[in-house]
């Protein structure tokens, strides 16, 4: 399958890239790892006339700490995330999630910025970003701004990004030491998108859940931060009755499609099952 023709550009700075994207107009797109975009171009579901490759842009790769924030450059690959010592220590849910994305080859190329900017409800990182209350830093010819992951997604492939916008980094306030975490993903086979998945971060105090945040993947047009379910968990003993209520609250906000991954009713139910498993695993990992 041969993609439609396009002009290729390789700028070296964020400014240059953002200006190029603005000038070239509606039919220009950033190119990161290409592992969503090139697939769409081959199917001619995307036919950009210009690709602006971000791989030569300075300063978009790597992980650093800034005060309470962990800052991850947009061009950091899933492979980099899996092998980063700082993330392994402070935000292990990212490694757990990245390891469940596709396969080793895709993870060497696919970037975290591309994963969150893509807007495909099947992508795994967006829900994790909502769970962690991450912020996306966006550069454009008009300047920089920051948007919460919880406000970023409007629909399938419909996000806060406008022409000339580039996600430059992701900022996450690290959860407290000893927090529990889990990303539970149901998939039909290795490398598949989720039938349903749930991300959970929680902290325990004296055996009870002090704080909790839950988000869901691929059970609606957008990732879903499960605010109600998070509230039910927080302050509870995480017992069976609580989990039943939290799972019901999470299922209630889903609106999955019936597709190759299964009928809608099944996928909604699986969102609840993934939530239960994620909470139990997070609880087992948390230090009280």
């Amino acid at each position: 399958m041969i993609p439609g023709a396009f002009d290729y550009h390789r700028p070296t700075s964020v400014n240059e890239a953002a200006l190029l994207l603005r000038q070239l107009g509606e039919d220009a797109r950033p190119l990161a790892g290409g592992h969503s975009l090139i697939a769409l171009m081959k199917l001619r579901l995307a036919m950009p006339e210009h690709l602006v490759d971000l791989s030569g842009v300075d300063g978009l790769k790597g992980v650093r700490r800034e005060g309470d924030d962990l800052v991850i450059g947009a061009m950091t690959t899933q492979h980099d995330i899996i092998h980063d010592a700082m993330l392994a220590e402070s935000l292990p849910i990212l490694r757990e999630t990245a390891n469940q994305i596709a396969d080793p080859q895709v993870r060497y190329r696919g970037t975290i910025g591309g994963n969150v900017a893509n807007g495909d409800p099947g992508n795994d990182m967006p829900a994790v970003m909502q769970c962690l209350d991450a912020r996306f830093r966006i550069a454009s010819p008009d300047g920089e701004r920051e948007i919460s992951a919880r406000d970023f997604y409007h629909g399938a492939f419909d996000t806060e990004l406008h022409r000339g916008d580039i996600v430059t980094e992701i900022r996450i306030k690290a959860p407290p030491r000893g927090h529990g975490y889990a990303y539970e993903k149901m998939k039909r086979k290795t490398g598949d998108y989720a039938t349903a998945a749930a991300a959970v971060i929680l902290t325990l105090e004296g055996g009870r859940c002090a704080r909790a945040s839950v988000a869901l993947t691929n059970v609606a047009d957008t990732p879903l931060w499960a605010e109600e379910a998070s509230k039910i968990l927080a302050g509870s003993d995480l017992g069976k009755e609580t989990l039943d209520r939290a799972a019901a609250a999470a299922e209630a906000i889903t609106n999955p499609a019936s597709d190759l991954h299964g009928p809608a009713e099944f996928r909604a139910k699986m969102a609840g099952v993934m939530l239960r498993r994620a909470v139990m695993r997070a609880q087992a990992r948390a230090k009280a």
Binding site: M1, I2, P3, G4, A5, F6, D7, Y8, L31, G34, H35, I38, A39, K42, L51, D53, S55, H79, A102, D103, P104, Q105, V106, Y108, R109, T190, G191
Partner: protein, 166 residues
């Protein structure tokens, strides 16, 4: 549509070419360089038959434009044997352990296995299975592929790793 001059190294040899921006790396390798050992299975990034080594990473060459490989170091199945033509440890493993039947997936499997062993010289069976999870084989049922990689890992412990990289 734009054309670009690219310069890269393929199997240790410098290569220069003018390529159309939309030319995929796999087509560049197969059709312009006649390195037809790299296969196209699914053309959608799933099967791994097109796996090559680029800048010390296993990549699916059907999901990368040739122009993105400008400046890269690439190894294909044609470059995996030792310089004297004898088989590398991974190749030998596939041969001796019957790690292939039709052979369609084999070039991708071997490239992936070689990189896996460079990153993790002593993988468990589980790590091997995860490590080649981006490579589909319709024939073998994977048992003998796992054995082939285990054979190579054992063999490489006696010989310097650099040799496998060549």
């Amino acid at each position: 549509m734009s054309n670009h001059h690219i310069a890269l190294a393929v199997n240790g040899k410098p290569v220069e070419a003018d390529v159309e921006s939309r030319l995929l790396l796999v087509h560049f390798l197969r059709e312009q360089l006649n390195l037809t050992g790299t296969h196209i299975g699914c053309d959608t990034g799933h099967c791994g038959a097109c796996t090559v080594d680029m800048n010390d990473m296993s990549i699916k060459s059907c999901m990368c434009f040739a122009v993105q490989a400008d400046g890269a170091q690439i190894t294909t199945i044609e470059g995996i044997a030792h310089a004297d033509g004898t088989l590398s440890a991974v190749q030998e493993g596939f041969r001796l352990m019957h790690g292939l039947q039709c052979g369609y997936c084999t070039p991708g499997m071997i490239l992936r296995a070689a990189r896996l062993l460079m990153e993790n010289p002593d993988p468990t069976e589980e790590e091997i299975r995860q490590g080649v999870s981006g490579n589909l084989c319709r024939c073998t049922g994977y048992m003998n592929i796992v054995k082939a990689i285990q054979y190579a890992a054992a063999k490489l412990h006696e010989t310097p790793l650099v040799e496998a990289a060549q």
